[in-house]
Amino acid sequence: MFEDLALLGFGPEGWGRALLSAALTTIAVSVCAFLTGSVLGTLLAWAKLGGGAWLQRVADVYGVVLRGVPDLLVIYLFYFGGRQVVAALARLAGHDGPVDVSGFAAGALAIGLISAAGQAEVLRGAYGAIPGGTLEAGLVGGMGRWTLFYRVIVPQGTVTALPGLGNQWQSVVKETALVSVTGLVETMRAVTIASGSTELPFLFYAAGAGIFLAITTLSGFVFRTAEWRVRRWAPTQGRA
Amino acid sequence: MTAPAIRLRGIHKHFGAAHVLRGIDLDAQTGDVVSIIGSSGSGKSTLLRCIPFLEQADSGEISVGDAGITLGQPGARLTRPDRAAIRAIRSRVGFVFQNFNLWPHLTALGNVMEVPVHVQKRPKAEVRAEAEAMLEKVGLSHRRDAYPAQLSGGQQQRVAIARALAIRPQALLFDEPTSALDPELVGEVLAVIRSLAEEGRTMILVTHEMGFARHVSTKAIFLHGGLVEEAGPPAQVFGDPHSERCRRFVAGLGIAAP
C-alpha cells in the first residue's frame, strides 16, 4: 500500500506534478470567480442600500434566483448554454463547425455570479454595522463621497465583512470542483483521471480531498490573520 | 428559642486565588427581612447564591428550615445525602434573579406553573389556579398569556417573583432584584417586595436600594471584603453604624434620615 503513496510523488511514475498543476488551476479559477463575485457583489450591495426601488427589486430578485438554484445547474447553463449561444453566433458569422467554450471561463463566471449574491449580503451587513456617527462626522468634516467611501466605510466595514467573506471564499473553492464537469483539468478532474488510470480511486480522491482541505485551511489562516490585524484598531467593531 | 428559618455558619468561598467569602454567619428568623448591603465585589451576591447552591461554598453550614448541609473540603465531591439535602434546600427557597431569568419560550403563566407541575409534580389544575392567584398578587393576571419578550423589565421581574412564590417556599431570596431595571420600573417591583414583607414572609434581600432596604428590613448586614463588618437593626446599620467604612458607604449613597 505504501508503494501506492509514491504515486502521489514527483517521481517518474508519480502524479505529483499533475496534481500540483491541477491545484494551481483550482486556485486560479477560485480567484477569478471570487473577484468576479466581489465586483458584482459590491454593485449589488450598493444597489440594495442606495438604489431606487426598482434597482433594489432587481438586486433582490438576483439574490433569490442565484441562491435558489444549484451551483451545478448554473455551471451547466453557462457551459452548455454558452456553447449553444456561441454556436448560434458563429453560425451567423458563417462558421458551421463545432465550437468550444472555455470551461475555465464558464466555470469562473458561473461561480462568480453565485458568489456575488452571497458576498452582496455580507457587504450589506458589514455596511449596516458601521456606526452612523462616523459617517456623519466625515460628512460634516467636508469629505466627499469617494473619500468617505475609502477612508471611513471601507476600513470599518472590513472588520465585519472579513469573516463572512472568508466563508464565501471557502465556498467558492469547493464549488470549483464542479467545474470538472466541463472537462477543465482542475483538481477534481485530475484526480478522476489519475484514479481511472491507476485504478486506485480511493487514494487519489483522498489526495484530492487533501488538496482542497489544504487550500481551505491555508485560506482560513490568512483570513483569520487579516481579521486579527484589522480588529486591533477597531475594538468596538466586528461584534456582529 | 425556635430554630432560625435560614442559618449560615462559617461560609467560605474562593474563586481561584481570591478569598471572596471569609467565614460569614447569618441568621434569619421566620418573618425576618434581612438586607445585605455592601460595595461591588464584597461578596453579597455570592453569599446569596451559595444558599441554593448556585455556587458551591468551600466550607460551612447552610440550613433552611429542617434541611441542612455541612460542607467540609473545598471542591469535595458531593455525596448522595448531600445531593438530597441540596434538593431539600432548593425546594424551600424561592430565588429571584437580577436578570429575571424567565424562560423565553413560555408565557408568564407557563413560567409560574413550570416548577410546580414538572418538578413538584402537583396536579395541573390546582397549580394553574394557584399560579393565576400569584400573578394576580403581583398585578399581572391580565398578562398571563404574554411571553417575556412582550413584557417590560418590571413586569418580567414581577412574573419572576410570582414564579418564586408558586413553589410555596419557606423563604425568598432576592439577588439585586431592581439593579437591571430602568429607574421608572423599579417602583412597581419594590412595591411587590414590600407587600410580601408586610405579609410576614422570611426574606433575604441583596440590594443597592438603601432607602427601601432601611424601611422594609428587620435586620441589616454590611459586607466588606468577604466579612460581616456591621450587623444589626436597620436603624443602626443605616443610621449609626459602629464601622467607619459602613458609615461612609451609607453616607456615600445618600440615604435620607427617616
Binding site: L72, L77, G81, Y205, F212 | N101, H105, E114, V119, R163
Partner: protein, 235 residues
C-alpha cells in the same frame, strides 16, 4: 423558444422531482441523527470532541462531489467491501449518493446544533437549577426547546442547501431533476431552455421550503410586536 416545447420540457423534468425530494429528506434525516451522535461524541470526552471536530473539518472543508466519488468509486476498490454483506447496497449509486449527503449534512447540522445550544441563556438554566429541576428535565424542557428556536434559521438554510446539493446525484447517473435535464439536453441540444426550466423547478422548491421554514419560525418564536406602549404606564 416555443411555449409548447417548454411545457413538454417541464413535464419531463418533473419526473425527477420525487428523487430530488427523496434524497433531500433522506439526507436530512440521516444527517440529523448522525449530528446528534456527533454532539454526544463531542460532549463525551476530550478525544471524542477532537474526533467530532476532525469529522466536521473534513466534511465541511472538502467538496461534496469528492465525498460522493470517494464512496461510489473509492470504496469498491477494497476487496472487503466488495465481499461484504453490504455490497449489494453499496454498489448502488442511490445508496452511495444518499450516504454521502447524510455524512455531509451531519457535519453542518452538528455545528448548527452546537451554535443553538451555546445560545441558550445561562440564566434560563440557572432558574431551572434553582427550581430543583433534574438535569434531564432541564435538557428536555428548557435547553432543547430554546436551542431549537435559536438554531432554526441556520437549519433552514441547511435544508435548502441540501436540496440544491442533491443535484450532484446526477453526476453518478441518478435521474433527479438535474439528471433528467442532462439527458434531455444531450437529446435536444437545447441547453438554455432545458437547464433554465430545471432552474425554475429548483427555484420553486427552494422558495416553498424557505416559506415553510419561516412560517415555522414565526409559529415558534415570540412576536415582540405586542409590546406595551409607553413604559412609564404602570401595568
Amino acid at each position: 423558444m416555443d411555449a409548447a416545447f417548454l411545457l413538454a420540457v417541464l413535464q419531463t423534468l418533473l419526473a425527477g422531482v420525487p428523487l430530488t425530494i427523496g434524497l433531500t429528506l433522506l439526507a436530512l434525516a440521516g444527517g440529523g441523527l448522525l449530528a446528534l451522535v456527533l454532539a454526544g461524541l463531542r460532549a463525551s470526552s476530550r478525544v471524542g470532541a477532537a474526533l467530532a471536530d476532525a469529522y466536521v473539518f473534513v466534511f465541511r472543508g472538502s467538496p461534496l462531489l469528492i465525498q460522493i466519488f470517494m464512496i461510489y468509486y473509492g470504496l469498491p476498490q477494497f476487496g472487503f467491501i466488495r465481499h461484504s454483506v453490504l455490497w449489494p447496497l453499496l454498489r448502488e449509486p442511490y445508496v452511495c449518493a444518499a450516504l454521502a449527503f447524510m455524512l455531509n449534512d451531519a457535519a453542518y447540522t452538528s455545528e448548527i446544533l452546537r451554535g443553538g445550544l451555546r445560545a441558550v441563556p445561562r440564566g434560563a438554566v440557572e432558574a431551572a437549577v434553582v427550581g430543583n429541576m433534574r438535569r434531564r428535565t432541564i435538557m428536555r424542557r428548557i435547553v432543547l426547546p430554546l436551542a431549537v428556536r435559536q438554531a432554526l434559521p441556520a437549519y433552514g438554510i441547511e435544508i435548502t442547501s441540501m436540496l440544491k446539493s442533491t443535484s450532484l446525484a446526477s453526476v453518478v447517473t441518478l435521474m433527479d431533476v438535474t439528471g433528467v435535464a442532462r439527458s434531455l439536453v444531450s437529446e435536444t441540444y437545447r441547453a438554455i431552455e432545458v437547464f433554465g426550466a430545471a432552474a425554475l423547478i429548483y427555484l420553486v422548491l427552494v422558495t416553498a421550503t424557505t416559506a415553510a421554514v419561516r412560517a415555522l419560525e414565526r409559529h415558534l418564536s415570540i412576536r415582540p410586536a405586542e409590546r406595551p406602549a409607553p413604559r412609564s404606564a404602570p401595568a
